[in-house]
Amino acid sequence: DAGITQSPRHKVTETGTPVTLRCHQTENHRYMYWYRQDPGHGLRLIHYSYGVKDTDKGEVSDGYSVSRSKTEDFLLTLESATSSQTSVYFCAISAGLINTGELFFGEGSRLTVL
């Protein structure tokens, strides 16, 4: 357990509404990631962060933004949710100050956009 908490764990929302998912870690890890998981696609990287206020895009970043104002929190925002963003979202951290590559995942946040 790498001390990762995701919230909310489940959310149902309507198309066009904003949604923010929160990832909180307790162990001061530098690298944090947001992935989405869909059947047949595995896990796809949305955005990642390598420090406070330092973020970059992953392979499926369109429609998503992130913020990291504190080491412990990495927020994922859907400005205007669409049905194609219905998915399970996983936050992950890479342990240690130097990225080892090994990822520890949170429990996931299941988002349904109606």
Binding site: Y31, H41, G42, R44, L45, F90, G101
Partner: protein, 112 residues
């Protein structure tokens, strides 16, 4: 961009049978990792392979990294019902700082 293909997508076995999943990358990898996700759970790290031709074992699980560092496999000997879940490979290329590219996963079902 980097692509990682994993086959098969599904595998149904009888308890006691062996199981293998294969992973192929479109580019040379610096390392490859394997994760297991139980139904309803989150991915859990199993192992990382770094060296060309590397073979690692964890009890009944054998992991291999190809000589060209573009393919990998996970083999489970004598499956048990506790092996049920989805197995993912994830490749990291160059200095991509943990930007792993995941395969689609293999869903393993074990019938008792």
């Amino acid at each position: 961009g980097q692509q990682v293909m994993q086959i098969p997508q599904y595998q149904h076995v009888q308890e006691g049978e062996d199981f293998t999943t294969y992973c192929n990358s479109s580019t040379t990898l610096s390392n490859i990792q394997w994760y297991k996700q139980r139904p309803g759970g989150h991915p859990v790290f199993l192992i990382q392979l770094v060296k060309s031709g590397e073979v690692k074992k964890q009890k009944r699980l054998t992991f291999q990294f190809g000589e060209a560092k573009k393919n990998s496999s996970l083999h489970i000997t004598a499956t048990q019902t506790t092996d049920v879940g989805t197995y993912f490979c994830a490749g990291q290329g160059g200095t991509s700082y943990g930007k792993l590219t995941f395969g689609q996963g293999t869903i393993l079902t074990v019938h008792p």
